[in-house]
Symmetry: C2
DNA sequence: CGTCTATGTCCAACTAGTGAACTCTAAGCT
DNA sequence: AGCTTAGAGTTCACTAGTTGGACATAGACG
C-alpha cells in the first residue's frame, strides 16, 4: 500500500504542508495558504475542501475584515493526543490537541509495588476521566505517548530490568496500553521524554541539541540531537549515570565502581544523611532542607552537583550540546546545585565546548515527562495521521 | 521557476532518489533500483532513460552474470570529486568519481613548519597533477573535501589554534582553496573525515552510528550519528581526548589534569620510553618494536589501550554506537592495543551497551582522512548537482 | 451606483507514475 | 537439443493530481 514516489504521496505531502502552515499560523485564508505553501490557489481550494470534509479543518465564513476571505483553522476536535507517564511514585496523564495546547492534566500517586496490571488499570481509568472532562470524543484520539522509568528494548518494546518498578520487567507497555485504548502507543523512557518535553515546552525551546539530565532514584540523560531524540542503535544511549568517575569508588548496582550514579543518585546519596537527619528522608526533603539553610544538606547537594558536573563535562567534550537542562527532584535546588555543576563543567570540559554551553534548570518540574509523552505522540503521529480517514472513521470499540 | 509542490518537483525528487540509490550502491540494475527506491519498474525505466540521455548515468549492457540485467552506474565523467588532507607530516590528495571509485591518489611529505601559503601552493599543484594524470576535464570537478588537523569554527570556517600546524591558526582553509580551485570546498577536521572514510570504504561499512578514534599526536574522535558526521552546535563534538580519567593525573595541554590524552597521545606517551629506547622514537616505531616483541613497548601500548578503553566506555554509555573504529598510527598495533581496549570497555561500560559493540582497527590506515575528504565532497555535493546542467554546461573558466 | 480588486471555484490541459501485458534472455530440467 | 521458467526491461492505456486561466463573488472606494 506504500507508494513512496507517486502522485498520491505528493498529494499527501501537500496536505501536510497545508495543515502545517495552518497549525503554525493559527488561522489563514486560502490565499494566504497558497502564498506561504507555494501551491496554486486551485490546489489549495481542493485541499481545503478535502480537509473540511474530513473534519480536520474548520472554515469560518469571514472572520477577518477583508474582502471575502474565509479563514481556515484546525478544528478544535480534529484530534487529540494523550501523554501517560509512569513515575517511581506517581502516574501522570495529560491530554492535548493538535495545536500543541494542553487541555487537561492530572497526576495521582502510584504505589511502587503495584503490579503492571494495576498500573495500566489506573492509567486507563485516568485517561478515561480526563477525556470525559475535556468533552471530546474518544474516537478522536490520534496517538498516545507513554513514559516508563526504565530501559526499553527498541526492537521488541520490552521493558528491561528496572529496579524502579519491580515486577514490570519483561512487560510490553506499549502493546498493553494499545490493547486497552485501541490507538497507536509510542513508548520511551523518562529521561528521553523529559528531554522532549523541555525542548518543546520548557527550558530547551529553540535549541536543537540538548541534554536533559534527570537525577532521581538513578541518573539518566535524554539526548536531543538535531531536534530528535537520539536513542542509539541499541536504544541505550544517554546512560550518563554509569560513566566512571572514580575507578576505585563505591560499587554501583551495575557492577562497576565509581559510577556517577554512586555519587549523585538518591539511592546512594540519601543514606549519607540518615544518621544525622533520620531514615525517611527523600530527595525532595533534602532539597527543601538545603533551601532552608541546613548546612549538611547544602553540602551534600553541592557535592552531588560537582559530580554531575564532571559527568556533564565528559558529555560536553563528546557531544558539545548547546544546552544542558537539569530535571528531576534535584532541579528544585536551583543554584545550590547548578552552581557546582557549572563550576565543574568549567573545570573539566574543554573551554571551547564549555564556553557556549548553558546549564539551566528544567522549567516543567515533574510535568516534563508527561508533556514529553504528549510531544512524542504528536511527533510520531506525523501530521499525516490527521489526514487518513482512520481518525475520523467510526471506530466500533469505545463508543 | 520554483514549483514546490508540483509534479515536476516530484519528478525531480524521484530523479534524485534514483541517483542517490545508484551512488550509494555503486551500481545497480533497474530492478534493484525499483526495489530500493520503491518506485515502479516502469518509472525507473523512464528515469534511467532520461538520466542516460542527460549523460548522468551509464548503462553497461550486462555486467553481472544474471539473466539480462543491465547494470546502471553513474557515468565516470559525470563529475569528479577531490579530497585533500593536510596531515601533521604530509599532504595527501585523492581524485575520485561519482561512482565511488578512487581514480588517483598521492601523498607527499609536508614540513610541519610550512606556512599555509606554501601548503596550499603544494596542494594546488598536486591536485593539478592528479587531475592531469586522470585525464578528466577540470570543469567536471563537482566539489572538494578538505581535511585539516585541527578544530574548525563552523560559522566562520576559521582554523582554530592547533599545535600541529603552527602558523595556520586563523586562516580559512576552505575559502583559500576555493579561491584557488574555483569550486565548492567543504572542510572538516581529520578525526571526522577519518570516521567518514572508514564508514564509506573501510571498517565501518554498513553501520550508521560509529565512533572513529584517532590516536596520534593527540586523541580525537569523529562521530557518525545516523549516517552523518555529528559536529555539535559549536563544532567541537568528539573531543574524547579531553575527558577526565583521573582528576589528579598529569597536567594536560588543555589545562586540566588526567585527560585521556595524557595517557594515550604520542606527545605524552613517547617520553616514557625515551630513557630506555632513545629520544627520537615515534609512535610508529613503538608499534613496530611492540610487534617485534619488545616488552617495554608492549606494556606501554597495552596501558594506552586500557586508558582508551575507559574513554570509549564513557562514549558507549552516552552514545551507544554500534561500532568503534580505531585509527591513527596506533591502530597498526592490532590486537596488542585492541585487546586492552575491549577489556576496558567490557569492564567500564554498562553491559547492554558493551554487548553489541564491536571494536575494530581501521582498514584504511593513513588513507582514511583523504578518502573521508572525498566522501565529504560526495555527500555535501547533494544529488541535485548532478541534475541541473551546471556541471555539464560549458563553464568558461578553467578550459 | 459603478468600478476595482482580491478571493475562491471550475474546467480543460498537462505532467508524471502505475499496473498489466508483452518481449527478451539465460538458466535449469528432461 | 529443446522446452520451460523466471526475472528484466519496455510499452501502453489509465489515472491521480497540479496548474493556468476563465469566471463568479463581494466588499471597498470614489
Amino acid at each position: 500500500m506504500e507508494t513512496p514516489g507517486s502522485q498520491s504521496s505528493l498529494h499527501r505531502a501537500n496536505l501536510e504542508r497545508v495543515v502545517r502552515a495552518v497549525r503554525l499560523a493559527g488561522s489563514l485564508t486560502q490565499a494566504e495558504i497558497a502564498r506561504t505553501t507555494g501551491l496554486s490557489a486551485a490546489t489549495v481550494s481542493n485541499i481545503v475542501r478535502e480537509l473540511k470534509d474530513g473534519g480536520t479543518v474548520e472554515v469560518t465564513p469571514t472572520s477577518a475584515g477583508g474582502r471575502r476571505a474565509r479563514s481556515v483553522s484546525l478544528s478544535g476536535d480534529a484530534g487529540i493526543v494523550i501523554g501517560v507517564d509512569f513515575g517511581h511514585t506517581h502516574l501522570r496523564v495529560a491530554v492535548g490537541n493538535l495545536a500543541h495546547q494542553v487541555l487537561a492534566e492530572e497526576s495521582e500517586p502510584l504505589d511502587v509495588d503495584a503490579s503492571s496490571t494495576q498500573g495500566f488499570d489506573r492509567a486507563e481509568q485516568l485517561v478515561s476521566r480526563l477525556i470525559a472532562a475535556t468533552g471530546v470524543d474518544r474516537s478522536k484520539i490520534a496517538g498516545v505517548g507513554l513514559g516508563v522509568p526504565g530501559p526499553i528494548d527498541v526492537e521488541s518494546g520490552t521493558l528491561g530490568s528496572t529496579a524502579i518498578l519491580p515486577g514490570w520487567t519483561g512487560t510490553r507497555p506499549a502493546e498493553e496500553l494499545r490493547g486497552r485504548l485501541g490507538v497507536p502507543v509510542h513508548v520511551d523512557n523518562d529521561a528521553n521524554l523529559g528531554a522532549l518535553g523541555e525542548m518543546v515546552w520548557g527550558s530547551g525551546r529553540g535549541v536543537r541539541d540538548l541534554a536533559y539530565i534527570k537525577v532521581a532514584s538513578g541518573v539518566g540523560a535524554g539526548l536531543v540531537i538535531n531536534g530528535k531524540i537520539y536513542r542509539g542503535p541499541g536504544g541505550t544511549a544517554g546512560e550518563i549515570g554509569h560513566i566512571t568517575l572514580d575507578e576505585s569508588g563505591p560499587v554501583c548496582r551495575c557492577g562497576n565502581r565509581g559510577c556517577l550514579e554512586t555519587f549523585a543518585a538518591a539511592r546512594y546519596v540519601l543514606p549519607l544523611l540518615q544518621s544525622s537527619h533520620g531514615t525517611d528522608l527523600t530527595m525532595e526533603g533534602v532539597v527543601r532542607l538545603a533551601r532552608d539553610g541546613d548546612p549538611g544538606c547544602r553540602r551534600v547537594i553541592a557535592d552531588v552537583g560537582r559530580h554531575i558536573g564532571s559527568g556533564v563535562a565528559n558529555l560536553c567534550n563528546l557531544l558539545n550540546p548547546s544546552r544542558v537542562v537539569l530535571g528531576g527532584d534535584l532541579a528544585e535546588a536551583g543554584e545550590l546545585v547548578l552552581g557546582p555543576i557549572r563550576e565543574s563543567v568549567g573545570r573539566y570540559a574543554i573551554p571551547s565546548a564549555a564556553r557556549q554551553l548553558s546549564v539551566l534548570p528544567g522549567a516543567l518540574g515533574g510535568r516534563a515527562e508527561v508533556l514529553g509523552a504528549l510531544a512524542l505522540a504528536l511527533s510520531e503521529m506525523g501530521d499525516s495521521t490527521l489526514l487518513d480517514g482512520t481518525l475520523h472513521a467510526v471506530t466500533p470499540a469505545f463508543t
